[in-house]
């Protein structure tokens, strides 16, 4: 029988792995719009980790800021500087 606490910690561990992959994709992608979506994915994984670590107050502020407002502000930035890093089409 698996202990409930281990299920919760396993969920956190899975989210942590997901967040690492999303972070790598967000940093390495030259398409800034896709990088932004990966960044939001990483934030979602962090929100799950915060929930498992019993910080619901942080989750409630992290979800709207990291998935709603922050992408909107970065989207405004991407609109100004162009979608692709290093000029059209990348390297």
């Amino acid at each position: 029988m698996i202990e409930p606490v281990n299920v919760a910690l396993g969920l956190a561990a899975l989210s942590a792995v997901l967040s690492v992959i999303a972070t790598y994709l967000a940093v390495s992608d030259r398409d800034l719009l896709r990088a932004l979506i990966f960044s939001a994915l990483q934030s979602t994984a962090y929100a799950i980790i915060f929930l498992v670590l019993m910080a619901p107050d942080i989750v409630l502020v992290y979800v709207p800021v990291a998935v709603g407002i922050y992408p909107a502000v970065v989207l405004a930035l991407i609109k100004r500087v162009g979608r692709f890093e290093g000029g059209e089409g990348g390297e």
Binding site: L9, V20, T23, Y24, V27, S28, L53, M54, P56, D57, V59, L60, V61, V63, P64, V65, G68, I69, A72, V73, L75, A76, K79, R80
Partner: protein, 263 residues
């Protein structure tokens, strides 16, 4: 290509070293930590303690108790920093008038979905803010959630549609009303003989906000702080989003106009 390997290797290094540190007890041997320090124990036990009316906050939510009562002045300055940033944005974009021209927006399906979900998000935001003294949440969390509604409307309908309902001036006014409300709740106690940011009666000062209103637990000033903070944060963040997502031409025109005047 080399930069991709560099990124991968550095992320892997951070992950491995952090995992190593956590596995060997950098955060304590278990989650959550065992054995609270005396200060933390006092916060947790005094948050809701009707048997100790001169020290308690009368709120079962320890986080909100710390945010608006035990460490209330900290939160006040934190709010001041956030609003300094928002005032900076508004000043930077001061020439811009978000156009009231209502655009087409996204497809009818997206607009219908937004019309259904927007009031639901707003209801959740209100619940988070107004139950902040009872359950996880609070003014900032509720306000940030409410600002997402404005964002959803802006994206699915259009900036003009949002501005026609909530103009720049009205958002500024709501934000100021929220801030003034916070200031009023903080300053009413000293006017009536208490201490700044006082909530419940203390040994040396008998002023007290009502802990119960009509039989419902309102935790004194916490409900009012959460209400005004959510109003100020929702209006402030909506205003910022409105200005940052204004059309490129409008921003260009406003900025160019400034340059002409200076020359």
């Amino acid at each position: 290509m080399a930069s991709r390997y560099l990124i991968a290797v550095s992320i892997a290094l951070v992950v491995v070293s952090l995992s190593f540190a956590v596995a060997y007890g950098a955060l304590g041997a278990s989650v959550p930590l065992e054995g609270l320090r005396s200060l933390a124990r006092a916060y947790v036990t005094l948050a809701y303690a009707p048997w100790n009316r001169t020290l308690t906050v009368m709120s079962p939510e320890a986080v909100t108790s710390i945010v608006w009562d035990f460490r209330g002045v900290d939160t006040f300055f934190e709010t001041a920093v956030l609003f300094g940033a928002i005032i900076g944005t508004v000043t930077l974009f001061r020439g811009i008038k978000p156009s009231a021209r209502i655009g087409e927006g996204l497809s009818a399906i997206a607009r219908s979905a937004a019309a259904v979900t927007a009031p639901m998000i707003l209801a959740v935001a209100a619940a988070i803010a107004l139950h902040g003294h009872l359950t996880p949440g609070g003014g900032f969390q509720g306000g940030a959630t409410a600002a997402v509604v404005a964002l959803v409307i802006l994206v699915t309908f259009s900036l003009g549609y949002l501005v026609s309902g909530l103009s720049k001036e009205r958002a500024l006014m709501l934000r100021s009303a929220g801030l003034l409300g916070i200031a009023a709740v903080a300053l009413i106690p000293p006017i009536l003989g208490g201490i700044v940011f006082q909530n419940q009666a203390k040994e040396l000062s008998q002023f007290s906000y009502p802990a119960y209103i009509g039989g419902a637990l309102t935790s004194g000033s916490l409900l009012f702080y959460n209400l005004f903070e959510s109003l100020a944060v929702a209006a402030g963040l909506t205003l910022t989003i409105m200005l940052l997502l204004s059309p490129h031409e409008v921003v260009e025109e406003a900025v160019r106009g400034e340059d002409h005047e200076r020359i």
